[in-house]
Each structure stands twice: as structure tokens, then as C-alpha cells.
Symmetry: C2
Subunit: 344 residues, 2 copies
DNA sequence: TCCGAAAAATGAAACGTTACAAATAGTGAG
DNA sequence: CTCACTATTTGTAACGTTTCATTTTTCGGA
């Protein structure tokens, strides 16, 4: 295959200089109509395609923003991605979507990649293992916005109050009369997992129970398979100690728990209530429609991108800030059965 | 913020030439250990980060492959993406994931973007509206592999036999005794939608029925909302003409249909059976576990990336080919009720 | 101590764009 | 027919790497 056609080829075919071709491309108004016509004709005749690498090199930065999520197959994150993408494309930017898969190593590799590509900025839901790496990136002048994670003062973030979310979930289960509870989540390096747990403890305390009332079932990752394993593990507890209300760190885990309990003939919600987190669309469509703590997913992505772009374009009214949305509990069948206190 | 540090800065700090720095970066073995040490020290001291744009410009191509899908929020495609990403990263390539959202305009815009970025190749599930555009890209030397779509001879593709899949679905519904059927799908510009419909017609014929036994409910897009609308539309038919078995062009649509039927008190599968397509993980977890035509999703992505990379690296044993997987029907509760023929 | 070969380091030319200063062409007033 | 402008167009120098033909160093052996 022949060498790709460059601006030079176009220039010589149209009988003008490369500078003029560049002008036609970038400021068509300043070149005479006749010339513009000739250049455009040459462009289509030769099938010229701009070389973005060259443009970027010249410009010193790319037209990309990076988005690093914990799990692309989790609908929560695809919705966030969609929100971010909408806003980015309005600003003429494209999104490079990276899947860290909750693995610090992969996260680091993607951060390197994005930095090497001189992205305009990075949106990231951190695994929690590379905070210094993020600081380093910021120091080099690349804006970073944390997504679904609260940042300290002077940093940008867009999040939902996970402590409140955890609180809502457990408070609801207590309301329904459950006194032996479980929290299924992990790894605890993830901020989300820790905060939702903390909220759960708060609710417990407020309800006059101590933390022994909450069995913590740690899992390796926030996915369906881990949820299934956790459910199986819960059932190995002696019947009298088995939790009757389970709060899961996200909906995928909750769906896994639901599937496994059902398979093992534990009725939901009669024998065990479940509350999930995120309220992904599939939660409502589950075998037993799932109660869940709703987060404004698309909005989260949009807000994050907005903050990022604001900072990246050096908008004068940008100040580092931490946007916090409020979660909302959506009660469905999976937790709708009232339990007589003390009964078994 | 100061100008980003370049290879030059590193060179002068380490007291060597830029060529040597480049060598340390790319062929560390050919530079003396002492020098290498000094250069690496300078690199970390200055916080040097390679400029990928410059590398690409020099190399004439990027380290990206493009993946254009119809809908990122559809778990089918995220699984495909995951498969493609796995293989790509094994080859040191990153994936730019683009969401055409079934819109030809967006598709075109993303194809432009990818071409401008000189990607190594493009994986695409086409909307069906830009075939010439894809040919053009191929002519310019960029490998293109169709995903989940069958390509003509001399082109590469990885797909699942959608005609067979449609056939399986309808044959199953006939087996269960249904004689008034419906196909819910659209837009018909999508190859998947057309092929699955064709398979449905084949099964019908084979079962001795003519095409009038299959009501076709066209929808605007393959998503939950369209499924809901379609279900509502089906219920406006006079009871005697109402289909008792519905085949949906994918699982999102099927979930939408299921939700709306349930909401309107039509029992599934008693009053109406449903078969979906893709067998996404959520299908099994649905309110009524969904029968579905299973596609090897992750494998599809892997195979596509494999084909692409093979061609992109000019592997000598590469021949254009069309890989076709076989779909498999998974029967679950949503279609498990046998219907007495003739009864209503 | 000197020679030649092998090892290590270097200079300079690309890669395709864009920006900017400078040159050229075009135009209306006097 | 000039002059003073304005409207167009152009030459050229970057941007940060990598490559490759050369030059310089190093080192073992004679």
C-alpha cells in the first residue's frame, strides 16, 4: 500500500502551499472561495485524512479525555460513561474508556497510557491503591476528577454520599424488623466498599444495636460470581446466627446473592431480604425485583466531565470542588416482607 | 505550568544525546549499564513521560485498535469488548471503544475519528448505513473486521449464525404449541434484525405455517424502552389475534416486553411466552428467567481481535475469512409452558 | 605501545501539522 | 497611474520521537 496521503500531496495537486491547505482545514473563511474549492476537490480526489498524531504533537495535547472505571461490564459504569461521553463530545473531545477491573496493576498501566497520550484530563474511579500516582499526574498539570469517590479539599470529585447510602439500606432493613444483618462487599481497598460499610454501622448504632449484629462477608470483587460465593458462605452459618437481611455493596453482588439463595431454596424476601446498591436497570427486572440504593448514574458522568472540561479549558470560574449527590432508597419486593422481631 | 519535559531535557541532564535516551527507552540492552543508569535517574528525577503522539507520528501508525459497537450499555457488547480488549492488550494494543448508539451519523463520526488517529484496525458492528465508508477505509489499508455480522467473501468477519438463531427460537415456540407468533425487532437496517427475522420465517415454513402466522412488531432500537412500547402495541390487537409466543431481537427488548406484559397483568409464560436473544447474564436473573439464544460473546470479541491483529501485523498466514459461530437455544421459564394447540 | 574490532554514543534527518511573520496580489481613492 | 491598504498566500520553524549512517571509545592481543 502506498504511503498515506499528506497535506503536502493535497497542496501540490491543488497548486497551493501546505499552509493554505491547513488554512482551508482550520479557518476556511480566510481563504479565497476559488482556492478553497480547488483544495477541497484535491482532498476528496486523493482521499486525504488528517493525521491526528501530527496535530496533537503540534498542539502539545490531545483531544481525548480518559475514563478509568472499575468494571465495564457493570451497567452502573456504562451509564456513567455515557454521561461523560455526552458531555465530552459536546466539547469536541473523545473518551478513552479504560477498564481497570479493580486491579491496581491494570489501573496503573492505563494511567501511564493516558498520560503518554497527553489526554486533556482523567476521570477515574480509583481502586484505591495508587493515590500518589494520581497526585503525580495532577502535578504534571493534567486535571484529574474522581468519580463516585469523595476527594479531599482542593481536589475535584463527583460522588454520591456512600455513607448515607449504607445508612439508608440498613435503616430500612431494621425498619422491616430484621435484627441479624449482613454486609456483603469487598475488596475493602475500594472506598465505596468502606463507606457503605461505615454507613451501615451508623444505622446500626442509631437503631440501638452494636456492630456484632452485622456479619461482614468479605468478597474478592463486586460482581455476580462473588455474590454467589458469599451467599453460599452465609448459608454455612448455624441457622440461629444466619442473617435475615443482607445488604450488598452493589447490584451485581446482590443479583449473585439472590440467584444462589434461590437455587438453594432460601426464599427471598421471606427467609432473607436483600438490598442492593446502584439501582441498575436490571435490578427492577430481577427474578425478585431488587430493592436498591439509587445513584444518579448518567448525571454523575456528566457532572464529572463538566468539572474536568472546565478545569482543562482553564475556565476562569473553575474552582476545585467536591460535588456530592444524594442517594435514594428504592424499595422493591426483595426487602418488602416485614419480619416479626424475635421470631425465626 | 512549565513546558512538559521532553527527551531533550533528559538527555542534557544525563549528559548524553537524545538518541541515547531513545535507545535506553527502546533497546536498553545496546546501551552501557552506567549510561543507562544515569539516563534512568534523569528520567525519574524529571518525571519524564514519553509523548505517544510523537512516537506515533514517527511510526506512521498508532497502537490503538478501534471498536465501534451499537450500544455500550448492552451487556452483550461490553462482553464482546472485554474479549477484544484481552487479546489486544496481549499484543500491546489499546482499544478505543466507540458507541454508535445505532445511529449512522455517530458511526460515521467515529470512523472518521479512528481513521484520523491512524488506528491499526477497526472492529465494527455496523449500523448498516455506511458500507461504502467501510470499503473506503479498507482501501486506504486499514483492516476492518465485522463483528456479529457476516461479511462477503474477501472480507473478514466474526459472527454467529443469526438465521439459525432465529430459526431455533421460533421452532422452539412452535414446539411448545404456539401458533400465533410475533417478532419484535428493529430497525431493519441492522443485519442482525433482518437475519433473525429470516430465520424465524424459515422455521415457520418448516413447521408448515405461512408468514401470516408471524406478526412483525417493528421498533426503533434494540433496547428496554422499545420493548416496553412493543408489548403495549401487541396488547392493542384483538384478543383472538394476539400472539401467544413472542421472539425478541435481543434480550434488552425481551426484558422490556416482559416488564410491560407483567405490568399489564399478562402472565408469562402462561398467557404469553417470550424468547430473547444474546443470553446476557441478566437474562437468567430476570423476574421470569428468560429463554434466549446464546451467543459466545467474549469469544466473539477475542476472535475478531485475533483476526484483526493477524491482518494488521501482516501475518503471512492471514487470509480473509468469515468465522461463524453457532448459536444455542437456552430454554428457561419464560417459554416453558406447553400450549394446547387450538386452545385459547 | 599500537592496531583492529567490537561496543557505545551521536548528529541530523525525517514524520505531518500549524502558527507566524513576511511576501504578494488585488482594489479603490486621489 | 500611484499609493496605501486590505485580502490572500507562502516559507519556515517548530512540536518530540526514532532511525541510521557515522563517529568515538574501549579493550584484548600482539
Amino acid at each position: 500500500m502506498a504511503r498515506a496521503v499528506s497535506i503536502k500531496d493535497v497542496a501540490s495537486r491543488a497548486g497551493v502551499s501546505t499552509a493554505t491547505v491547513s488554512n482551508v482545514l482550520n479557518r476556511p473563511d480566510i481563504v479565497a472561495a476559488a482556492t478553497r474549492g480547488r483544495v477541497n476537490a484535491a482532498i476528496t480526489a486523493l482521499g486525504f485524512v488528517r493525521n491526528e498524531s501530527a496535530r496533537q504533537l503540534r498542539a502539545g495535547r490531545s483531544r481525548f479525555i480518559g475514563l478509568v472505571v472499575l468494571d465495564v461490564t457493570n451497567p452502573f459504569f456504562t451509564d456513567v460513561a455515557r454521561g461523560a461521553e455526552d458531555l465530552a463530545s459536546e466539547s469536541g473531545l473523545a473518551v478513552i474508556l479504560c477498564n481497570s477491573d479493580e486491579q491496581p496493576t491494570r489501573e496503573r498501566r492505563y494511567l501511564d497510557l493516558l498520560e503518554e497520550h497527553r489526554v486533556r484530563g482523567i476521570l477515574v474511579t480509583p481502586t484505591g491503591d495508587n493515590p500518589e500516582r494520581l497526585e503525580e499526574i495532577r502535578r504534571r498539570g493534567i486535571p484529574v476528577v474522581l468519580v463516585d469517590r469523595h476527594a479531599p479539599r482542593g481536589r475535584c470529585s463527583v460522588s454520591v454520599d456512600d455513607v448515607l447510602g449504607g445508612n439508608l439500606a440498613i435503616a430500612h432493613l431494621l425498619d422491616m424488623g430484621h435484627v441479624r444483618l449482613a454486609y456483603v462487599g469487598g475488596p475493602f481497598t475500594l472506598g465505596q466498599v468502606r463507606d457503605r460499610h461505615e454507613g451501615a454501622l451508623q444505622a446500626l448504632k442509631h437503631g440501638g444495636l452494636d456492630s456484632s449484629a452485622l456479619h461482614v462477608e468479605k468478597i474478592a470483587g463486586l460482581n455476580v460470581a462473588s455474590g454467589q460465593e458469599a451467599a453460599a458462605a452465609l448459608l454455612t452459618l448455624p441457622v440461629g446466627q444466619r442473617p435475615t437481611g443482607v445488604f450488598c455493596a452493589n447490584d451485581l453482588v446482590a443479583l449473585g446473592v439472590l440467584q444462589e439463595l434461590t437455587r438453594l431454596r432460601v426464599a427471598v424476601p421471606e427467609d432473607c431480604a436483600i438490598v442492593g446498591y446502584d439501582d441498575i436497570d436490571f435490578a427492577a427486572a430481577a427474578a425478585v425485583p431488587l430493592s436498591s440504593v439509587r445513584q444518579p448514574r448518567v448525571q454523575l458522568g456528566r457532572a464529572a466531565a463538566e468539572l474536568l472540561i472546565e478545569e482543562a479549558t482553564g475556565s476562569p470560574n473553575h474552582t476545585h470542588r467536591q460535588v456530592v449527590f444524594e442517594p435514594e432508597l428504592v424499595v422493591r419486593q426483595s426487602s418488602s416482607m416485614t419480619r416479626r422481631t424475635g421470631a425465626d
